[in-house]
């Protein structure tokens, strides 16, 4: 099935194999993500959701099984820079101005200076920071920095966006605002998103599907389909949003009860 954006088959990840601290982070994981889909990975800490994301991004190699991204090996996809990555820690480089941070992946791809500058301007408009290209990251608030990190990840128009608790360090208000922004950007760019979170409401608000993981070893416990359609800020007060949140919450409870 070559149409999938991400195809994870029978993946197992063991850390410290053979040592006393051997930990099976993930075991027997299968998951197919369609192009343009927004999928959230949620689960208690230690369930391997960040590991899962890093396997898709080929920042880790699976111990067994295979990971394909757009029909090629995860390694090849990384080499082709098919995905953009956003971490909880914005990870902007202090020594680069905001525009230069966004242009970094383009620089590494050998884009001309003029093209880079045009693109970073577009990206700054997209994340609603048009006047901040000349600032240094430390002059920006946490939420603004995270928006720059998203702009950087999207600058080369990757077909896949991997996000590891990107809003985890933000306050509630900024967080909700960023969620709205992310959905808007997702609509505008049509990119596939794999999003790790430990927030139930965040997962329900953002995704098409919520993948609920159980810990030790990390497995897919269940997948909750979220049928909310197009979201707006009103969605947060929509009874269907509460139903979706409840469904995710119950799946997580079932994980903790070990059923």
């Amino acid at each position: 099935m070559n149409g999938a954006a991400v195809e994870v088959m029978g993946v197992e990840k063991v850390f410290g194999r053979g040592s006393e601290e051997e930990v099976t982070a993930l075991s027997g994981v299968d998951l197919t993500i369609a192009p343009g889909e927004f999928v959230t990975l949620i689960g208690p800490s230690g369930c391997g959701k960040s590991t899962f994301l890093r396997l898709i991004g080929n920042l880790l190699e699976p111990t067994a099984g295979s990971v394909e991204v757009f029909g090629k090996s995860a390694h090849q996809a990384r080499m082709d820079q098919d995905y953009g990555m956003v971490f909880q820690h914005a990870g902007l480089f202090d020594w680069r101005r905001v525009a230069a941070n966004i242009e970094l992946p383009l620089e590494l791809r050998g884009w001309s200076k003029a093209d880079r500058s045009d693109r970073s301007k577009e990206m700054l408009d997209l994340v609603k920071l048009p006047d901040f290209g000349g600032h240094y990251p430390r002059q920006l608030s946490g939420g603004m920095q995270q928006r720059v990190a998203i702009a950087r990840a999207l600058s080369f128009e990757p077909r896949l966006l991997l996000m590891d608790e990107p809003f985890g360090a933000l306050d509630e208000m900024t967080r909700e605002h960023m969620q709205g922004e992310l959905l808007r950007i997702w609509h505008e760019t049509g990119t596939t998103v794999v999003f790790v979170t430990h927030s139930i409401s965040e997962s329900a608000f953002l995704s098409n599907r919520v993948v609920v993981l159980s810990p030790r070893p990390g497995r897919i416990h269940s997948i909750v389909e979220i049928g909310l359609g197009e979201r707006s800020e009103d969605t947060r007060e929509d009874p269907r949003f509460f139903e979706a949140s409840t469904e995710v919450r119950e799946a997580l409870r079932a994980v903790e009860d070990g059923s």
Binding site: L59, M79, M85, H89, D94, W95, L108, Q139, M144
Partner: protein, 263 residues
Amino acid sequence: MNAGRLRVLMPPLVTGALFIGAWEGGVRVLGIREFLLPRPTSIWAQLTSQWPTLRHAGWETGRIAVSGLVVGIIAGVLLAFFTTRFRTVNEGITPLAVAVNATPIVALAPIFNAWFGITGTLSNQAVVVAVVFFPVFINTAKGLTEVHPDEIELMHSYAAGEWTILREVRIPNALPFFANALRLVAPLSVIAAIVAEYFGGPQDRIGNVITSNAGFARYDAAWAAIAVASAVGLALFATALLLERVSMPWRLVGGESESTTKP
């Protein structure tokens, strides 16, 4: 802007003037004998009358300090790069360097005289190099390796190789660490040079001017030489600060609260 600069400069200038005034007045009023603590005006008189000797001594000692600084910095930085590139070397060398760094290296001056000759400047320079080398090496190596893991993962997600990561992440990350080391070793190099001169080397340097004048109870002249030494140390420290500011403009900008309001 000028008013702002004046406001920053005023407190230390006033404090300094008060300190010198209190020194001068205290020595006069309390009748402290000049060989115990000469008055600033006596030191100044020596500074002007002995100026050719002192200027020459300050210049020569400064040259020893600066040449030792340059060699020590280059060696420290090179070894830092080397150990970052080859992790096993790092594991062997770094604990050793930390241990050596904790030993008072100026104590080696008499031994360096035996190794590099007591009459030339080489042994003095060697003391400066040894004093400068370790802080530069340890700090730079730390800056090259202590990179946030997300930043390395980010670079891997761009399929960047080790050289690109070194250029784009490790080196800029190491700059503040290196600058800290520089601020530390710049004045330290003058101290090292002078202490080394106490034990050997040519006789027309600050260290020897201090010891010979003190030996003849010409304490005001010894103090004048100390003043020259401190001026050389200050000049090197100021150069280090200037380099730091020029090389890292992003460290000069204010934090979030001041600058999110656009100009």
